[in-house]
Symmetry: C2
Amino acid sequence: MTFVNVGTLGAQPGKRDELIAQLTRPSSVLADIGCLAYEVGADDTQPDTVFVMELWKSAEAHRASLSLPEVQAQIAEARPLLSGDFGGFRFDVVGSPLHH
Amino acid sequence: MTFVNVGTLGAQPGKRDELIAQLTRPSSVLADIGCLAYEVGADDTQPDTVFVMELWKSAEAHRASLSLPEVQAQIAEARPLLSGDFGGFRFDVVGSPLHH
């Protein structure tokens, strides 16, 4: 079953765009390890929040990605830009009206 | 800019699967009006919640969809199954590490 992970990442004041730049840097790893979609976004009514939507081949593929050196390095690089406010949710996909 | 809408829909006790069945019924309309992805999901630790992740060509395409007869009919059909608890968030996509 494919797996969705969506999140809101609080950024330190004025650091949202720098965080977005990091998260949208081309990655040669993600697609190979089962990431089907990784969309990064913003909402101008929330200037200190970065939004992420990820679609993975499985919950396991997502979990395994977190221990990859490249991903660990990205998390470490982003940490100083984060405020510590996190939100979001995760779920297993059970169907879609667009494809069967 | 593409647009993401993610949500958690509270279902009346025991009605989650019926709500999922409704939301995953094949739709011939969504793709034509700019819906790029519409994934419906569940999380067994939250038995009364249905999760939705939608990716649209634009915020405007999403907004316009809400007034379509087919979509209005679906909302009316789902209403008795809903508990009234809603969550989630929306954002404009500004980039992705997977495609440039």
